[in-house]
Amino acid sequence: MHVELAIGPLWAQQARNTEADASTLIAFGLYMGGVFVLALIAHKMLSKREFVGEYFLGSRTLGVWALAFSFAATSASGGSFMGFPSLIYTHGWVLALWIGSYMVVPIVTMGLLGKRLNQVARKTNAITIPDVLRDRHHSHGLGLLAMGIIAFFMIVNLVAQFKAGGLILETLFRDIPGYTWTADNALGAFAHAIGQDDLGPGYLLALLLFGATVVAYTSYGGFKAVVWTDVMQGVVMGIGVLILLPLALKAAGGLPAVYDRLAEETPSHLLPPGTPPPDKPDLQFLPFSLAISFFFMWAISGAGQPGTMVRLMAFKESKTLLRAIFTVMVYYSCIYLPLVVIFVAARNIPGVADLPPEKTDSVMPITALAVAPSWLAGLLIAAPFAAVMSTVDSFLLLISSNLVRDFYQRTINPDASERTMRWLSVTATAVVGMIVLLAAMRPPQYLQYIIVFVGSGLAASFLAPIGLSIYWPRMTRVGTVASMLGGFLTMLTLYVLGWTGVANFLEGTWLVPLVRPIDFAPLDLCGLDPVVWGLGASLTLGVVVSLLSGLPPAGVVRFYFSRPS
């Protein structure tokens, strides 16, 4: 953790460092203790219910708080507490527009599919998203296709998320006495042997701690452990932000004072498209076309995530869903707009106002240390770690359910015993986690782009197929395959075109107004993010191909769409 504040004499900084180190350790220790207690309780419950349904879906018994916080915490990744505050601090009020579509995210992502998806899943006792598609269209092949696409995206994403977890943990521990020494001695030679000199042994040790913890409690406790730890993580994040808001405003002298200072010194912090990065003065931070894309990316694509959909199959009754939407609405309103206010106000907080660009990723702990008591700073420093952890554990379980439930049980051995399924589920979760952990030792660069690519790709591949399958009786098997592949391939094509730079010669035309000045960026056709095109292609193909491919069997339509006899 970086706490080198440019305020006060050196001794004050050192005292602050020591306090922060102690509070970080205490907060982290308490947090880890809580995680393992919850995993232990969840594991005990596994022996009392049918194993597969309990391990992967919590036996469809999620209540309001569990559903709401598990949903909110899984959606909020580490970026919400590291990258997002840094962007607000750097670019100003335009981040309110960047995150603006979160005003409808709770109701859209949970309400659009929630009730109907839960009902459809109950009809056939479906436990995973491939289950739902396989049953709805009577096709093993479709189930396997869905399984393959989920596995592809999830494994790519997990490596990126593990890297994020390792980096955050290293940031937390970096300045703790003995950490660097331990890492150098224990893993220095290994880091050199695998060619990991850039991130170094400190990262490897943090990655091992992070990976071992997540893999252990997820494989041991299953879905319930994931959900309960999500609730705890969501509470940690929420309380931290709500306490920080008044403290930051008080330290900044109130919002009007912040406004006056920005208007005088950096008016670009008050207006879109936001302040350009110092090293790229010509870059528009948020061009208007990207602002349009964000309404699709956050709200609509959020509804299309298999990890979200699984939670929507797990709640107890429709009343639970409605109360949970309300709870998430309150939670998001209390988190995201206050975050914008806090880190705009940080520009007027002594000691935080003029951070150099390389320090802005740590603006949250720096602000917390500047305005809050050290115990609260410890809590806030644990928040990004909690956010990454709650995202990773859900994805890990999604992959193992893919392998064990969708591939092994439903395709290879439908007669697998309870004992076999229990052993396989725990082993698969642990093995997948270990493989991803090994891959993350040599992680890919461009973390944020990979995470966005995965989220967008999953939405383009699953939102229209699932949405049309549950709401449109006319949707056919062929239409579903076309919709899924159409969305997937559109996304893949636009990313490949962007990465290879093949279409760069079109820059400046209406077709490609701007090529993002980053190697790994996708091609923004007509200035719109690929997710808009992927969702559009998937929806169009699903409808057109279904209409061209004849009526679906009447028995299927009756089973899913007619009043039960």
């Binding site: 194993f51 469809r60 009020w93 309110a96 527009l97 603006g100 579509s101 005003m103 409808v104 109701i107 859209v108 309400g111 659009l112 599919l113 009730k115 109907r116 009902q119 109950r122 009809k123 056939t124 006792n125 436990i127 396989r134 049953d135 009577h138 096709s139 093993h140 109130g254 009007p256 912040v258 406004y259 208007a263 008016p267 207006l271 602002a291 309404f295 009754e317 429709s318 939407i325 309300f326 707009l337 049980q409 395709t411 439908p414 007669d415 697998a416 015993s417 309870e418 709401y471 069997p553 009447a554 028995g555 299927v556 339509v557 899913y560 769409f561 007619s562 009043r563 039960p564 006899s565």
Partner: protein
């Protein structure tokens, strides 16, 4: 040769579809309102003409905070007064009611699960509802 096309009168399906359309309408309204206000009041604005509401730039206050408050009120109305609290079913398939998967093997959804679909023998008709009756 084919059975008559069945009615789509499941009440949960109808309620859920209607609620989904309301939600899509809200999303579209917010998209149009927010982007319109932010485009005309925010993009290409002369900073000298900018005003604030309680320290918040006017385009942020009217373009984002205001519709955000509206969405929160709408969500309260939707969750507590509009959406139906439907019975979603038991969560366990009734024996014989699950459709034929037409796949490669007998498929049994989970050990202990009551349903068994015998695809190879073809004893369960598509839709399976005849067996259920």
């Amino acid at each position: 040769m084919s059975e008559p096309y069945p009615p789509t009168d499941d009440p949960v399906f109808r309620h859920a579809r209607r609620e989904a359309l309301v939600i899509l309408g809200l999303w579209l309204t917010c998209l149009l309102y927010t982007l319109t206000v932010c485009y005309f009041w925010g993009y290409n604005r002369d900073p000298a003409t900018l005003t604030d509401v309680w320290g918040i730039p006017d385009w942020v206050f009217y373009g984002i905070f205001f519709p955000w408050a509206f969405c929160d009120l709408f969500t309260i109305w939707f969750c507590f007064f509009h959406a139906k609290e439907d019975d979603l079913g038991a969560g366990e398939a009734v024996p014989g009611t699950t459709p034929d998967l037409g796949g490669w093997a007998d498929v049994r959804r989970g050990p202990g699960s009551p349903e068994q679909i015998q695809t190879n023998r073809g004893s369960v008709r598509p839709g399976g509802s005849d067996d259920a009756r």
